[in-house]
Amino acid sequence: MIDRRLFTNFDWMLFGLILLLAAIGVANIYSASASYRIATVPFYLKQLSWLAGGLIIMVLACSIDYHVLEDLAYWSYGGVLLLLLLVMAVGKTSMGATRWLNLGFISIQPSEPMKIVIIMIFARFFSRYPVLGGLGFRQIGIPLAIVGIPAILIMKQPDLGTAIIVLLVAFSIIIFIGVQWRVVVGGVLSVVPLIYGGWHYYLRDYQKNRILNFLNPERDPLGSGYHLIQSKIAVGSGGILGKGYLHGTQTQLRFLPEQHTDFAFSVFAEEWGLAGCMVLLFLYLMLVLWGLQIAGRCNDRFGRLLALGVTAMLFWHIVINIGMVIGLFPVVGVPLPFLSYGGTSLVTSMTGVAILLNVSMRRFMF
């Protein structure tokens, strides 16, 4: 049944890279949560178990031809969109946000699979309707609607971080396909009223605060600006070589809020310093370039767009997360792939990598 070439073509390089990043992630979570009172299963062990589960699913997923995703694209899109609507109607509210659907035995967050589904549907859409000379106003309407509806629903939850990722992934694919210059100009011009409208009618107060605090963290040093100040102190005090594993004072004293999830990078930067950060960023850059390389080598348009989309997703996660913890972007709550604690984030990232592996393995089959 399984083509032998699949084994010989297995992308060990990508697989190894992921294992390395995940190992760093677990070690980092161990340090970040070492000072926590552990009443239940420690975070790093939970992360390890998700990782193990994710790896099994990932390897299994490689045995299925990714073209299945092409047939599934519209169905998945419809299904996840329905779930997003369900969240609006009957979702579980936690900490002021309604993002989860309670299925009794498990809670799911439909905005997460939407990241992958958007990649699938865009890949299918553009592989069936190739555009030469860039997308014009007429051709861009449908893709914008396809991504716009879920993005608005996710923003409503409100989950600004995920909405931004979904939009950025879609835009990355659109840019890759190519757009006409007048569309670019038109887009830029329409962004201004969009930002104005969004600021006044869309963003919640706490989101506005985050943005204002980002622009001026001292504005509210004890409230929402606190994250950023503490995070910058943690990162900066790491210096060149860092304070050493398990020795980050900011981390170990638990000054950092959410340090094992969104602020995992601050923990890493404090303990490993600039040197460690360079290594980590190098690994991430490798991952992105490898993903692009897979896209570039793929002879099948659907596969290529799929690989590109996944790479874009990982790329934006990395850039926005690190950017926000070092004070380049507002804090929007985007996890760092493989480093942040959390099953959902890990599963989404690994699903993405499974797609990359899949495309990579089958690049010679067309």
Binding site: P130, K232, G236, L253, R254, R301
Partner: protein, 632 residues
């Protein structure tokens, strides 16, 4: 798409991939530049900040909800208690510090060390309590000397206060420090080591409601540990309060009536199932569990043959003795085997094959009908009735009243008693039921076991003629703002489907027990209110010499169940006196005293103007005072 266009398209995509790579590289370069700026250019400044920026977490413990009686009288409240806390990150020389704490405060150095070890493993700025419950003087001393004892802090925590001492201790339960298994459990997720949780009674069963949410303040301190500013604060949320069905006055009366006898009493509202009193005697001091229990006291509790730590009202399972004749009688009436005119000749014993079953009255009662059999508790009458009914029909009637299974009063570990049947014996012992085994069962001996809760509930259902209410203890749960968040409504467990006439006949017998000459329960009589009841004496061991000569633990249990007023029943009661020997002599007077307290409280019985100054000298009249036959 033709071949040429496809090729061009592919090439174009290839070039775009390269542009993508360049874009990614640039962005990553920007990230590195920013890191360079933070970690190299600003590194020193930020490192200084990271060291001077010391935070401390000051936990603020939430008060547990109070527990009130049905009239709002306080059963359990809270009082502030002061503890010595040590913040690990600020202690330079731990041993020296502990030595001075021990010297100046008179604390035990080993105890300090032990608590320190136990509290470790959390954030270094999280205070560890090394000594709890210190005195005002010790607090003052610490406050004055805090400067030369860096890292030492005083923490205020609310602790449980029991204004009524040992009253209802078994029911209320006590608190204890959370243990490791509990910390692992899911529903204790938000708890910290050192927290106190309910370990027994209502404190345990209603932990979730009573426990509030701890708060805390994140404060910034300077390098010497002095307060600079508060960064964030979460206010503690007080737990919810429980309003019980218990009546404090009645509970007091019940416990007082026991004197130093061991046993249990349960008083229920006949028409709702509310438990008005729930006593287990002797009691213990719940405050000792929260603080430090003196080893001598602990030893004394453990060695007391009356088992003060055991909740006899909840977990005691006793052979019900003759109180069970109520069930046998109802089974007989409902099956049509007997009516009010059916008589049996009691010669003092009943022979079945080679077995001889004796009546408690060796002389024999002569010819007895149902009413007299109940009044005088004639065993032979019930042996014969039981034999004709068979064990399963007796058990079936018992089941209709919910006997033989926990009644679900809302406390953990409620026992279910035991109602034997043929099938039960077959399954349990793999043996057939012998006919002779039915006789003891028909008078509440043999395998039969009931709890004081079941006895009271059964009596209530007889009193109200056919509704078994689930007995319950918590009337309402109210939040700190006084809003009712949970209210318990009376719940019908069973409707035994017994004809009114059968109830009437049995009840007439019960009335006679207390109020007629030769009745066995005269000691429970009240002149102002008609009381109906049934005595019971249950064997602890098969046969032995006269009770006086038997060791305490082998003496018979004394039981009494009653309800009142006879015409319009309000309360039902069960009393078990462990090793009290005779139901009529030991249990009936206790029940009488409790019922008297109930009707005094309602104003039905006027309290006599006390002759002496000390009102507590007043004693409830006992059967012996009135020269009633107190033998069962």
């Amino acid at each position: 798409m033709n071949q040429q266009r496809y090729v061009r398209d592919t090439r174009e995509k290839g070039r775009r991939v390269i542009w993508g790579a360049i874009f990614a590289g640039v962005i990553f370069f920007i990230l590195i530049t920013r890191l360079w700026y933070l970690q190299i250019l600003q590194g020193d400044t930020l490192r200084v900040q990271s060291e001077s920026n010391r935070l401390r977490f000051v936990p603020v413990a939430a008060s547990r909800g109070t527990i009130l009686d049905r009239n709002g009288k306080v059963l359990v409240s809270n009082t502030p208690s002061f503890s010595v806390a040590v913040i690990p990150q600020e202690v330079k020389e731990k041993d020296a510090l502990f030595a001075s704490l021990a010297r100046y405060l008179g604390l035990d150095p080993a105890g300090l060390q032990e608590r320190w070890e136990k509290g470790k493993g959390r954030a270094k700025y999280y205070p560890i309590i090394v000594a709890a419950g210190i005195s005002r003087d010790q607090v003052e001393f610490l406050q004055e000397n805090q400067l030369w004892m860096p890292g030492v802090d005083i923490e205020m925590k609310p602790v449980r206060q029991y204004p009524n001492g040992t009253l209802a201790a078994h029911l209320l339960g006590y608190l204890g420090e959370i243990n490791e298994q509990e910390l692992e459990a899911n529903h204790f997720r938000s708890y910290n080591p050192g927290d106190y949780v309910g370990k027994s009674g209502l404190e345990r069963s209603w932990e979730e409601m009573l426990h509030g949410t701890d708060g805390g303040r994140q404060i910034e301190v300077d390098a010497r540990g002095r307060y600079l500013r508060t960064l964030s604060e979460t206010k503690p949320a007080v737990g919810n309060s429980l309003v019980l069905t218990i009546d404090l006055v009645l509970q007091q009366a019940a416990e007082k009536a026991f004197g130093d006898q061991a046993g249990a009493a349960v008083v229920v509202d006949v028409n709702t199932g509310e438990i008005l009193a729930f006593a287990s005697s002797p009691s213990f001091d719940p405050a000792l569990f929260t603080g430090r229990m003196p080893p001598d006291t602990w030893k004394a509790y453990l060695e007391d043959k009356r088992h003060p730590l055991e909740n006899k009202a909840l977990k005691g399972q006793y052979p019900p003795g003759s109180t069970f004749k109520i069930i046998t009688a109802l089974a007989g009436l409902e099956s049509g085997l007997i009516d009010e005119h059916t008589t049996v000749n009691c010669t003092g014993a009943y022979e079945v094959g080679t077995d001889v079953f004796k009546c408690w009255d060796k002389k024999g009662h002569g010819r007895v009908d149902l009413k007299r059999a109940i009044r005088e508790s004639c065993d032979v009458y019930f042996y014969q009735l039981g034999e004709r009914l068979g064990v399963d029909r007796i058990a079936e009637m018992a089941r209709r009243f919910g006997l033989g299974a926990p009644m679900g009063i809302g406390l953990e570990n409620e026992k279910g008693g035991l109602i034997p049947t043929m099938a039960w014996k077959q399954e349990k012992f793999k043996k057939k039921w012998y006919r002779g085994e039915t006789m003891p069962v028909s008078i509440g001996q043999g395998y039969t076991l009931l709890t004081p809760i079941q006895l009271a509930t059964m009596t209530a259902a007889v009193a109200n003629e056919g509704t078994v209410y689930r007995p319950y203890l918590v009337k309402r749960v109210i939040d700190p703002d006084g809003k009712v968040i949970k209210e318990t409504k009376p719940e019908v467990l069973y409707r035994p489907q017994v004809r009114p006439n059968s109830f009437r006949l049995v009840k007439e017998g019960l009335l006679a027990v207390v109020n007629e000459p030769r009745g066995t329960g005269g000691a429970a009589r009240l002149y102002e209110v008609k009381v109906a009841g049934k005595t019971g004496t249950s064997q602890v061991v098969k046969q032995r010499g006269p009770n006086r000569e038997v060791a305490y633990k082998y003496r018979d249990h004394a039981l009494f169940v009653a309800f009142a007023p006879y015409d319009k029943p309000e309360v039902a009661i069960s009393v078990v006196i462990e090793h009290g020997e005779h139901g009529g002599a030991a249990a009936a007077p206790v029940a009488g005293a409790i019922l008297r307290a109930y009707f005094e409280q309602k104003g039905v019985i006027k309290r006599p103007v006390p002759q002496t100054v000390d009102e507590t000298e007043e004693e409830a009249p006992t059967g012996a005072d009135r020269g009633e036959g107190t033998q069962q």
